[in-house]
């Protein structure tokens, strides 16, 4: 029987394993160093905040793996010998494979800051990081002040976590406005306000210079490049992005760039070796996507695709329309299609932006300047229906059509206040149109073609 070995039990590796099992009877082994069982990395924050126990963030009961005949080995792979189709492990005996899937995920970026390896300096990616945080910052007497470096999604999550234990946090963000490399200005500004509302000391346009030790080799303070200011702290969170976890592959003969190089079939340069999830790097970016996409959803999609290929239906990775979501403290964010920040905005891309007068709610619709074609939407504080936007993008709808039928797309809970008319009034005024909102129609929502 063919033996499939997967390195990494994250969403990518586990999805691949589940789908291979669904499609075949092959022998499946997952080797992973971090934990015995798959857990949801995206939910690590909730464990520290006490919303859930670690038990709760494991999507499958422990018996699931045995029942589905997926063997688990907790060990670290030190070397891949693809000539002999063999893996060397740190503790256990060698493991052979017929097909190998690399799903090794990412690790936090470190940019060579002085003091970056001191005690009390850490990232937030792994279960070990979570445990370390519980030691470094159990409460606000042990950790009197924390500094978080890097204004991305993980950075803001770490700030929220620390604030849940009333630990004062200084948040160093290199950009002039939070996450404005990704978000349009209006949205980014609203988030700046919200961050301050949560009593986080947000420092925009500020770079870390140095991390200073005390006599025991623990972090004592950081200094800031622009002003030379010294901020005393007991914890430094490094959250300036992630890089693929591929160091152990350096001399393996598998082609590497920043990640493991793969083609559209997720195949590496070596036969019978595939790479998926955070660690995979496309030779060429797909559409507007980046060559490495370190997000949950793409890991899951790649896992499904590679399972097809391995089970005899060789498939290209076709991720469909871009979507994503996140939560910034109390504000939920969803996006469908492409809405670019002012730094990355395409020449043809125009934006319509609406923001609620008092609440932290807003949305941005991107459309083509000439044709008026709808390109994408960002919403903050309003939930939207994935299905509907996916269809509108496929059908290449006009922005006017989207605005007219916005009620079809609303996904907020029942009885929530609705803003379509307000949004449309502004849209009409700004673009000199006279569109009237249409009533929600189940028929349109559910029919595959409108």
């Amino acid at each position: 029987m063919e033996k499939i070995v997967i390195i990494g039990n994250g969403i990518a590796g586990v999805t691949a394993a589940r789908h291979i099992r669904k499609l075949s009877d092959k022998q499946i082994t997952i080797i992973s160093a971090e934990t015995d069982y798959f857990f949801s990395r995206t939910a690590l924050m909730y464990v520290y905040m006490g919303h859930m126990k670690f038990e709760n963030i494991k999507p499958y009961e422990d018996g699931f793996w045995k029942k589905n005949r997926i063997d688990l080995i907790q060990d670290y792979v030190t070397h891949v010998d693809h000539q002999n189709q063999k893996l060397k492990l740190k503790k256990g005996p060698d493991v052979t494979y017929d097909k190998l899937i690399l799903a090794t995920g990412s690790k936090p970026n470190k940019f060579g800051w002085p003091g970056q390896d001191l005690q009390g300096v850490q990232g937030l990616v792994s279960k070990q990081d979570l445990d370390a945080l519980e030691e470094n910052a159990p409460n606000n007497t042990v950790c009197k002040h924390a500094v978080v470096v890097g204004g991305g999604l993980i950075g803001i999550e770490l700030c929220e976590m620390l604030r849940s234990r009333d630990i004062p946090v200084t948040f160093l963000v290199r950009e002039k406005s939070f996450w404005n490399g990704v978000l349009p200005d209006g949205e980014s500004e609203m988030l700046n306000e919200h961050i301050l509302e949560h009593h986080i000391d947000l420092r925009l346009g500020t770079n870390l210079d140095e991390i200073l030790p005390d006599e025991n080799g623990r972090v004592r303070a950081v200094t800031i490049k622009e002003t030379g200011e010294e901020i005393a702290c007991n914890l430094v969170g490094l959250t300036a992005g992630v890089t693929p976890n591929i160091d152990f592959l350096k001399d393996s003969g598998i082609a590497l760039g920043r990640g493991v190089k793969v083609n559209r079939f997720l195949e590496t340069n070596v036969e019978n070796v595939y790479a998926i999830g955070d660690c995979a790097e496309q030779h060429e970016a797909i559409g507007n996507r980046r060559p490495i996409e370190a997000v949950w959803y793409t890991g899951r999609m790649m896992g499904e695709t590679v399972a097809q290929t391995i089970c005899g239906n060789r498939r290209e990775y076709k991720p469909g329309h871009w979507f994503n979501s996140a939560k910034f403290l109390d504000i939920e964010y969803q996006t469908y299609g492409w809405v670019f920040s002012s730094r990355h905005r395409k020449g043809y891309e125009a934006h319509f932006h609406w923001r609620h007068a008092t609440e932290k709610i807003c949305l941005t619709v991107a459309y083509h300047k000439e044709s008026g074609k709808f390109l994408g939407i960002n919403t903050f504080g309003i939930r939207m229906r994935h299905e509907v936007f996916d269809r509108w993008l496929t059908e290449e709808r006009h922005a006017d059509y989207v605005m007219e039928h916005l009620k079809d797309a609303n996904f907020d809970p029942e009885f929530y206040k609705r803003y379509e008319s307000e949004i449309l009034t502004q849209y009409n005024a700004e673009l000199n149109k006279a569109i009237r909102p249409r009533k929600k129609s189940w028929k349109r929502i559910l029919s595959p073609k409108a």
Binding site: T42, G50, H51, M301
Partner: protein
Amino acid sequence: MSTYNRSMALTGEPPKALNFHQKLATLLGISGLAILCLAAFNVDFANKTLWLAISLMALFGGITWFTIAAYAHKPKGIKNDGVMFKSISSRGFWGWVAGVALTAFYIVLYFYPQYLGLAKEGDNTGVIALFDPLSKLLSGNPASQWFVYGTLYTVAILAFGIKFIWKYRHNNYEKIRTVSVMFFQTSFAFLIPEFMARLNSDTFSLPYYDLKNIWPLNYYNFERYRVNSLIDAGDIGLALLIFGILSIFVITPILTYKYGKRWYCSWVCGCGGLAETAGDSFRQLSDKSLFAWKVERWVVHSVVVFVTLMTTAVIYSFLGNDTSKYWLTKTSFLIGVAVILTAVFAWVMIYKREQLQRDAKYGAIGYFVVIMALIAFHFFSGEGNVFLFKAETLRKTYAFLIGSIFSGVIGTGFYPIFGNRVWCRFGCPMAAILGFQQRLFSKFRITTNGGQCISCGNCSTYCEMGIDVRAYAQKGENIVRSSCVGCGICSAVCPRGVLKLENGPLEGRIDSKDVLLGNDVDLMKLVNQK
């Protein structure tokens, strides 16, 4: 080596401590309870009206104050910080203390009301006497243990209802739903029955009737003394009796078809009302394992069978063989029951079989048991008894096992141990019947938003009914589960906006929209075919 002291981390204090105001508020609430306890130990309060008012106000005020201290200074949003660290909400020391205290209270209430001061002859004493003034004000009668319980129950729903509304003040669904349970408890369950008692005189008498309590939840509704007294009460009584029957066979199915069982379980019902308000801090304790789900289905459906047989037996036992007193006779009644059950069973098996899948077998077993029992009734029963037992014995057994032990002692007493919906999930026959309909014939579903789920587990953790919501959401599948009471909390706590409770067309209610997991159609078609 690190000189860092590890033990400091272990004794570290995550956000679980109460702030100053919360402590004072707790003290105030406890002083309200203390007055009741003192009264229970026969401390004689001279001015009962005053002390009762002080006690209830202290309880109410303490909880409200606690609420404000907990939420007012925080921005609106999900408030689950530290839930798993606090001993009361994570089966810690205080959780067990609360569980034991509540259980003890229920045991005394159901089985030893004399310790609360209930007097068979003469005046009440103890804590029940403390409630006499209020009871006399409302119904004109002295208090009973049930009046004491009803009052405290209502105060709990109102005060914790306010807490719940503050906690979810960003969420209109939760706010409106909670106002609804507060209203139904105060009016239908508490005030109206008391006022109805006022109408009673020597010549006119209505039984205690909480109009929103529908059979089989109020398993006693069709007992002889109630039916007689309703019939004897003339038009009003007859109207009530007809309303009772209509609510089972007409009102309930229509509302459940349109809105799912949530219209009752989390908008109207008193048990649900207490669970959603006072029990809200314990929702995360419900067991999510597949094993628990299995137990749930066996137990709750057995209760349905039990209550159906018991009620049939009770009615059967007081019907006659001719139409002189009741229009229905023993035989025609049995045939009627059998016909209704057969019609339902046939309809399900013919039209909904594929939706039931494995459960169809259990349904068939249940049906078979009931029909056999009905036949047995006919052949082996004499006057006043059914089969080998007296119908009354059957009813008493049900009242003891299900009505008292399950719904009270375990159902509420064990809130801090098994979660706040143990009764609704494992024991309530009403919930089971509504759930059966919700699963097969209702517009209600929880829609999963395409591929947005990140498998974080908040939804499953906070589902009070122990539904593993994530298992569906991460597959892009809608959630159509008979046990879902539509509390909406899974949707509220989801950080990615994945879940929406809604009523929509029956077609496509369950289908998973795999396409939206993000891959292009052809691939997903392939996956689905397998």
